[in-house]
Assembly symmetry: C2
Amino acid sequence: MDAPDWPRFAVTVDLVVLTVRAGRLHALLVRRGEDPWRGAWALPGGFVRPDEDLHDAAARELAEETGVHQAAGHLEQLATYGAPDRDPRMRVVSVAHLVLAPDLPEPTAGTDAAAAAWVPVDEVAAAPLAFDHARILADGVERARAKLEYSPLAAAFCAEEFTVAELRAVYEAVWGRTLDPRNFHRKVTTTPGLLVDTGERRAEGRGRPAAVYRLGPATTIAPPLSRD
Amino acid sequence: MDAPDWPRFAVTVDLVVLTVRAGRLHALLVRRGEDPWRGAWALPGGFVRPDEDLHDAAARELAEETGVHQAAGHLEQLATYGAPDRDPRMRVVSVAHLVLAPDLPEPTAGTDAAAAAWVPVDEVAAAPLAFDHARILADGVERARAKLEYSPLAAAFCAEEFTVAELRAVYEAVWGRTLDPRNFHRKVTTTPGLLVDTGERRAEGRGRPAAVYRLGPATTIAPPLSRD
DNA sequence: TGTTTTCTCGTCATGACGACGATAAGCCGC
DNA sequence: GCGGCTTATCGTCGTCATGACGAGAAAACA
């Protein structure tokens, strides 16, 4: 009755892993060791196992291939890419996921990948990506930029405790523009439930020490911040 | 070299088809004619063909199974659902799509489906859906509600030419709340590029005839409408 | 002890919005 | 034809959020 004559596909997860380093938005890329696209940069990813949920597969590949453990940070599904010719070997449907991670101490400690590197997203155009990964990366970056407007997701780029200036630096790096420190401070500190003051304060070198906050229970920023 | 030992999955598309009828948001559901879940309501959908893009598969299934041609309306990818046990027969990964369609003259002229019907979304809870389709439908409805805030997508529920009152009726049906006609009128008519006045006006029974508009080139509504 | 740097609080004008009044322009029943 | 009803459209007003910017607070540095 259940004749297995349905078309069969390979299903993979691809990962758009973003972080903020040195004031710039970076993506995690790996260098391919096999054909096709041998030697080209690609998004980390791999095949989904037979009894594995998509989300679990993404988290596993993240840990396996990049050494990034999703303890901190944020993982969400991005979109699915399934053009018939996107992989010349076979029919592959890839469920792309978006990861926002704080800048890790171990930058590219990959177990599996030939080489992994953080690449500034505005320099990726110079190094063509394998398959349709350029499009996937662009979609992931756009999703991240959009979500910072109305969600507290910027904190996923920070440590658990952070200052307003650190949070603002995330926005400036992701959006590629400067924000007025005073208006930004007013916005994030007066949005109810967004930030919780830990009472501590921290001096980052020069200047007056900043209050240290932790993320509050708010899930949205309404009205949103605007990137214009 | 390419040993075909990768896990193989069946890939389907499922459709969340929404329309506004009689002032209420409806979803298009089909009644299943096969086990499992025989006799239960389900989302329309089907298997992706070996050489077919995901978007094309969704459009094909929409036409085949529901008789809805996507000439008017809007089709976008929603999300992908791939829990290992979501279908007891086999490992199925489903790429859900969201369709927003104007109220069609032929409501449920299905070619393939045993029975298809428009069901008000707030009555779906009374009739449990097959598989994880309740979750998919909820995600689709939430996506539609959210997108009306900042995009001109409400017009996808209308004919090509429409009045401000018709557009407002869409918002009220999708959001399940009333909006002030005067403030709504001000918002949509003063947002640059959102509406183009056709010069015509149309009398819908009682009351002063309304100006007839067509969608303009604007792609976003900023600042957004708020559903509170 | 200044000077610089950064954090934080205020001020002010502008713009968008919710609540609502008022007018315009068509139906309907008599 | 004439009010009455209904809907569309235009205005007004107070409130709130915002961008631009001034100014004080609190540290490091010379």
